[in-house]
């Protein structure tokens, strides 16, 4: 046997095994450390603060849970949200995240570690990212071997696509959901491989946890049945599949119905019908198998298959019929928007108005995944080489997730794990091939058991696994056409001719290239994480001319102003984006928030914002609004402000009041969206415009001010307000708060009251005629 480089031969296999497993443990803990550490940029650059929008609600709910206990949380009715409708929080929330934090919090306190609940919340996502890395390792191990597992763990630990949702402070459902997703899939694969009801139950339990934690659980609900169905159609039905699926489905569905928010959905909505259908199909097929073992007649079997097909068709018809009758809830709008990207824009503007529901731009694939984008397809193709049951799962997963990631930005998150897994399989195969010291003329079954310990820490190859893979590849050539294709493209197609890599130099070139790709990947991830994904968005940062960091803290300034200067029950109206933040930081009732459950209520706010003062005032009074909060970026150039979101408000309001609000009225006759002199009258009179630019010119000494976001000059005559008073404007004018005036004590409308206060005389009037003139 010739080797490309000398390998020590005096080491016992036991030592190799022990060393390898020690190295794996060390590598995994290092990966966990890296995963946690890279998510701490947000804390280091800013501070330990809850990020963005939804996390603020989760944080607030967690505080309730931690202080009042689980049952109070379950029955929590929040009268300050969606004023005056209120929100039944306990029944409209996925409680998994809060319960997890609550358990950790109580556990730490039981150990006499008085950790603040906020810090538990901030650090939850990084902590769970370490668990995700481990779960991905376990999952990938089932696909190939431990070395691929370690690579996948390293990838998922630092890949930006996942970090974007799990930096410290990003306390959202996704923070724990990806771990649960991967672990449920791992349990499912394990259950399927072993035909183990125990692992099926584990899968069900983690599925339940996932259901309790994230609305994206429907992905699992459909992914596993899809896999089972694919196996069934490929003729791979086995009792292992039957045991795994039925134990998962029965226990998982029953468990998921225990979550109050989910309730009876698993048996009544279309999204869950696939799982039910596959369950039924498996019963039929299992029954057919049973009968076949007892009956040998060919014709009877045919008859049986006919019956099977008939039952399947009948079931499908029953499903359609029940949907039609309304027994099964039809697909929701969010679901349709997954298939038709234009659907939401046309019918449900409220979904389309969320930036993370937009289709993904191509650059963001590279930004989030970097070189994994290229190795991902290679990994998927490598899955065809063996095409075991679990490989079919990865193939299906990658196809489905790729589609969804293209449709919606936020679903990039579900694609990321499979990209890591597939890329790890591809890279690990590559490294296995090129680090393997065996020279081609050597015997195929040469004992390369001691070949593997001189390895880099990035990819410690494992001898036993690579051997297994090789054997499997050699001994189980796939029979399908696709398998032939894959076999032809692979280097080890079972051909008798000696093929392989000669010498050290070619090995070094490839390995060095791979290593540098990995190194660049690390640099890229670090850069993206620190620059793009670590901004809390409640605190903004800009650069001073000298390059030092300048913190823009307008949001918290304004929210704390509200908290400390307004009565506790004063209602604040703002666009729904800021509802959770106001509730969390200012602790004031809000009309609408990020839990966009009531379209009409949001449209009411949209109408108030987009109408003139006279029209808006009765709406404000009816809803007991005391303060109106707008976000204005025109002074400092903050582009995510309300004027830029204004058209969505108009569109959403138009959906409910098409007679009163019309989108074209807000454009110039040329069809431009402008805020300067040429802006339309409706635009200039809208409450949002008036509040944004109220007294803006005074900043410029009476000259027309320049809006830095829109790059336009505002009109010389600034807007005036009769029904609102400016109450607060933050340092950089990002947040402006206006107080709604009370009714005039004399019963006049506030406009004429204002004119009187400014000294304008009223026109003389005559008494109203009481009788008709006699002509």
């Amino acid at each position: 046997m010739s080797t490309a480089y000398p390998i020590p031969s005096d080491i016992s296999p036991a030592t190799v095994k022990n060393t390898a497993s020690l190295l794996r443990i060390v590598a995994l803990s290092l990966i966990s450390g890296a995963a946690i550490a890279s998510r701490l940029f947000a804390v280091i650059n800013f501070e330990s603060v809850i990020h963005e929008f939804d996390p603020w609600f989760n944080y607030r709910a967690t505080r309730v849970l931690a202080s009042k206990g689980f049952y109070e949380f379950w029955n929590w009715f929040d009268p300050t949200a969606w004023y005056p409708l209120g929100r039944v929080v306990g029944g409209t929330v996925y409680p998994g995240l809060m319960v997890t934090s609550g358990i950790i919090y109580n556990f730490l306190h039981a150990l006499n570690l008085p950790v603040d609940i906020r810090n538990v919340c901030v650090m939850l996502a990084p902590g769970f990212s370490a668990l995700t890395a481990w779960a991905t390792y376990m999952f990938t191990k089932e696909m190939k071997d431990e070395s691929a597992g370690l690579l996948a763990a390293a990838f998922i630990g630092i890949v930006p696509g996942y970090i974007s949702r799990s930096v410290a402070g990003s306390y959202d459902n996704e923070a724990i959901a990806i771990f649960l997703l991967m672990f449920t899939f791992y349990c499912w694969i394990k259950a399927l491989k072993q035909g183990s009801a125990l692992f099926g139950t584990f899968a069900a339990v983690f599925y339940f946890y996932m259901v309790a934690a994230w609305g994206g659980y429907a992905f699992i609900t459909n992914m596993i049945p899809l896999h089972a169905l694919a196996l069934l159609l490929m003729g791979r039905f086995s009792s292992r599949l039957y045991v795994a699926y039925t134990s998962w489905y029965a226990i998982g569905t029953l468990a998921s119905m225990q979550v109050p928010f989910v309730g009876f959905q698993p048996v009544s909505t279309s999204e869950h019908m696939g799982a039910l259908g596959v369950f039924g199909l498996l019963q039929i097929v299992a029954f057919a198998q049973l009968v076949r073992t007892h009956v040998s007649s060919q014709q009877f079997q045919r008859l049986l298959y006919g019956v099977v097909v008939a039952i399947g068709i009948l079931g499908a018809f029953a499903f359609v019929f029940l949907t039609y009758k309304g027994k099964i809830a039809p697909w929701t709008g969010r679901f349709y928007s997954l298939w038709d990207t234009g659907y939401a824009k046309k019918y449900i503007p409220i979904i389309a108005s969320v930036s993370e529901h937009q289709p993904t731009a191509w650059p963001s694939f590279f930004m989030d995944l970097q070189f994994l984008v290229f190795t991902f397809p290679a990994g998927v193709v490598l899955c065809f080489r063996e095409l075991r049951d679990e490989h079919i799962f990865v193939i299906l997963y990658s196809v489905v997730a790729s589609y969804f990631a293209g449709v919606m930005v936020r679903l990039m998150l579900t694609l990321t794990p499979v990209v890591c897994v597939a890329s790890a399989v591809a890279l690990s195969t590559l490294l296995d091939t090129f680090i393997d010291p065996t020279e081609p003329p050597a015997e195929e079954d040469a004992d390369d058991g001691v070949s593997a310990n001189g390895s880099s820490s990035t990819a410690p190859p494992s001898q036993s696994a690579s051997k297994k893979a090789k054997k499997a590849a050699a001994s189980a050539p796939t029979k399908t056409a696709l398998g032939d294709f894959v076999a032809a493209t692979s280097s080890k197609g079972g051909s008798p001719r000696p093929k392989g890599i000669f010498g050290l130099d070619s090995r070094l070139v490839v390995v060095f290239n791979t290593l540098s790709m990995l190194v660049f990947f690390v640099f890229h991830c670090t850069w993206v994480t620190s620059n793009a994904y670590s901004s809390p968005s409640v605190v903004l940062a800009s650069q001073n001319p000298d390059g030092s960091q300048h913190i823009i803290d307008d949001f918290r300034e304004a929210y704390y102003w509200l908290r400390q200067n307004t009565p506790e029950d004063s209602v604040v109206m703002s666009w729904w984006d800021y509802g959770y933040q106001i509730a969390g930081m200012a602790d004031r009732p809000t009309l609408v928030d990020n839990n966009t459950w009531n379209n009409t209520h949001i449209a009411t706010v949209g109408k108030a914002m987009s109408s003139s003062e006279e029209v808006a005032y009765p709406i404000l009074r009816k809803h007991d609004v005391d303060y109106v909060l707008v976000i204005f970026g025109g002074l400092i150039g903050y582009s995510g402000d309300d004027i830029n979101k204004f058209l969505w408000m108009v569109r959403i309001a138009q959906g409910v009041w098409p007679d009163e609000i019309q989108e074209p009225n807000y454009f110039t006759p040329q069809g431009e969206y402008r805020i300067d002199d040429r802006a339309s009258k409706t635009m200039k009179e809208s409450l949002m415009y008036k509040m944004s630019y109220y007294r803006f010119n005074e900043l410029f000494g009476g000259n027309p001010g320049v809006d830095r976001v829109r790059q336009q000059q505002v009109p010389k005559e600034g807007p005036t307000l009769d029904y609102l008073d400016e109450a607060f404007t933050s340092e950089n004018w990002i947040v402006r708060i206006f107080q709604v005036k009370k009714e005039d004590p004399l019963g006049r409308d506030l406009k004429s009251a204002n004119q009187f206060a400014q000294g304008k005389k009223r026109k003389r009037s005559k008494p109203a005629p009481r009788r008709r003139a006699i002509v």
Binding site: G86, G747, F756, K766, R770
Partner: protein, 447 residues
Amino acid sequence: MFSFRRVLFLAAGLASLVGAKSSTGNSVLVVVEPKRQDDFSIFYDGLRDQGYELTFRAPKDESPPVIEYDEAKFAHVVILASETKNFAKDITPQSLISLLDLETNLILGLSTKQTPLASLAPEFSLILPPPGTPLISYFPKREESPSLIPITPSKYDATEILNKDLPPVWFSGVPHAFGNNPLLVPILHAPAESFASEVDGGSADALVDAAEKGGEGLWAGSQLGIVTGFQALNGARVTWLGGVDLLTDELAQREVSNGVKSGNAQFARNVAAWTFKESLVLRIDKIEHHLVNATGPNEVYTTNDQLVYSIYISKYDPQKATWEPYSGIKDLQLEFTMLDPHIRSSLPPVPGAPGKYSTTFRAPDRHGVFKFVVDWKRKGWTYLHSSTTVPVVPPRHDGYPRFLSAAWPYYAGAISTSMAFFLFSAIWLAGEVQHGNKRAGKAGKTE
């Protein structure tokens, strides 16, 4: 130290309360031209008898200020300088309105001249005739000039404010028409035969002209007001006098017919009593809400709860300067509101419990933030408004009924399935032993 000062304040407050006949305070600022100051001594004496402290100020004096440090210095302000065109800087139409915002009560006099007060009147939805046109009536036949009119209060006038059987009141001044404002409280209307015209009695041409237009443009008839109250939403009261001569000693002592003294003095007292919040003053002492059969209020209520809502109302008694429970309101209503009233029910007085009004109702089957709203606005009376916010929540997780009879099919299904599973397992395991050589693993599986 702190508590001692508080005691002092409290004592001072109590002392003033005993002295005052008004429910809001006893300091009155009278703004009057110095040369006319003595014309109204009967009016002043009437006020002093009621316990008011009068401070006089000429229209052009700078002191005492009406508003100091954003606080009203006087509880009530009377402006008798109805013909003055130039007031001191701090008496402007705008500042008078800010006085109202500070819940100061005002008595304002109008005249035929164009004064700042005349330009304030439109803000109260009073429509004044052109300048120089006083109210004129040739009926009843009398020696006095046609612009000095004896007016007998009718049943259309504010009978709750004015004394019953009030003798006719001498009036000289301008009338006004009413705009469309529900806060106006007409106190005294013009006589049906009267009209507003030039002082010389009005040229016949103008009358003919107006008559040809069917009365259009003619300021005439009993729809015009001459003394009109106005109660702002915050409870401050204003009375507009068509002419301040109404309050003079001369007219108070002039006889309307032989041996019958005019009602002016009494009328002035009535008007002052209403304006200075002696009469027709109510307040809400407290409100209570609780579940039926409970005593204390709940923080939140559950849908379909039976709720009891009570409100306690007192009326101010100027004689004793105390608040007495008042059960005289017959048309009080309670609304249980979330955006719109979900429940609207009458709130009748409780017999045997003076001042208490109570009702019982079932909370709607709708969760949300509800308000108990009592909103009672009647002309002349203090507005009663009370709004109490309570969340109405869905039942707790253990608050739903259990073991429904309708659900027995499901219970039976669950129990029978469990039994069947148990039996099946037992038979399966027992059968295993008999066959002996089969697998001993998990039950319930076939190959």
